[in-house]
Amino acid sequence: MNYNWDWSVFFKSTGIGSEIYLDWFITGLGWTVALSLSSWVIALLLGTVLGVMRTLPGRFAARFATVYVELFRNVPLLVQLFVWYFLVPDWLPEKLELWFKQDLHPATSAFISVTVCLGLFTAARVCEQVRTGIQALPRGQAMAAYALGLRLPQVYRKVLLPQAFRIIIPPLTSEFLNVFKNSSVASLIGLMELLAQTKQTAEFTANLFEAFTLATVIYFVLNMALMLIMRGVEKRVRVPGLIALGGK
């Protein structure tokens, strides 16, 4: 098989306006970053609430959170995405359904579906990390807080959560990196994020080795950079005396 290597392909015109292929990658990366960040916000907020629920004394809250975690962890991400993209819009009230299907730009509705899907999917994982973090704290922490007269919400907000989050920075970092990587499933419902742009470039130019290599390098470099940054952050905010608990 013959293959024509051409690394200058990224600077060639796509034939659409004055765009070059590199522009496609930049647009794609923009979507990927936007997707990752917005899903992460949902995942972190919901995951924290669920994680706290799993450690509450009340039976009902804990059970609800457990069911949530099992449900979202045992169904493949792609199935969940199809449900959010193909099924859920049909269940909306009629006006909302029409707005979602007809008024919104296709890219926007796909973006919303993926964001909600990834956010809820990752929340189940964040929940488990938050729970582990809270349970890793010595029991005396909560007891001391109660003894000082704090009420339950205050105990969590002022004593347990701030410490728990400092412990679970490493696993949370890898969850964020997972969101970043998982956002590539958006390409399967037609959102032009990094992977979809790569595929398109490969198909347009027939320079598939170059296109996929560039995508790989982008993912690899961003991943490594984030990991190094978070390692630094973790060191700076480490809870003195609790080092042995970190990292798991």
């Binding site: 045992n74 199809f82 193909f86 099924l87 590539s184 390409s187 399967l188 993912y219």
Partner: protein, 221 residues
């Protein structure tokens, strides 16, 4: 919801599920074998080997599985062509299987490495004292002990792999999810079929991980 359509589609859904399971089992076997070799390389005294294995693991862990699947689908036929000099298509199943084996090997490697490192030094020293070579000590003493410890983790990772096989949708392989989706499209019952697919995945994964948890309790010494 029309469940008769699902019953009618049972033969093709069964074929899809079979393909999913086949892919999972083969990828787990390949992944564990490559992963174990990588772990041995990572822990070896040779700087070069250990750096190479470390790079392999970091590399595959920082790119999305979907990217690897797509990459391999396009690229593996070229590679095979260059190596063998022929122009034979190799098919989506083979390229996906290779992608899964190589990708999951990075994750299995980390599990095996942790397993090996959890074996006490005394075991290795005793093996050497008995006159065993490095290969014998690994094969007869360390790996059997380590694998017993890490079986639950390896199985958990295999369940994740089982769920991830649904991503072969990207290259058009007719796995369980893809069959369910296309049957849903044909019959106009996409809702029913997708929910059914989700239910099947849930039952298998949840059932398997419950079993693994039970096994974990029995294996802990």
């Amino acid at each position: 919801m029309d469940f008769t359509q699902i019953v009618n589609a049972f033969p093709s859904l069964g074929d899809g599920l079979l393909l999913t399971l086949e892919l999972t089992v083969l990828a787990v076997i390949g992944g564990v074998v490559i992963g174990t070799l990588l772990a041995l390389a990572r822990l070896s005294n040779s700087r070069v080997l250990s750096w190479l294995a470390g790079f392999y693991v970091n590399y595959f862990r920082s790119i999305p599985l979907l990217l690897v699947i797509t990459w391999f689908y396009f690229v593996v036929p070229f590679m095979v062509g260059w190596v063998t000099g022929t122009n034979q298509p190799i098919g989506a199943f083979t390229s996906c299987l290779i992608a899964f084996m190589m990708f999951e090997a990075a994750y299995f490697c980390e599990i095996v490495r942790a397993g090996i490192q959890s074996i006490s030094k005394g075991q290795v020293n005793a093996a050497y004292a008995l006159g065993m070579t490095y290969g014998q000590a690994m094969r007869l003493v360390v790996l059997p002990l380590a694998f017993r410890k890490m079986t639950p983790l390896l199985l958990q990772q295999s369940i994740i792999l089982f769920q991830d096989t649904s991503l072969v949708y990207a290259v058009g392989l007719m796995d369980f999810l893809n069959v369910a989706r296309s049957q849903g499209d044909i019959t106009g019952e996409l809702h029913t079929f997708l929910l059914f697919a989700g239910l099947v995945y849930f039952v298998i994964s949840f059932g398997a991980s419950t079993l693994v948890k039970r096994l974990q309790k029995r294996l802990t010494v």
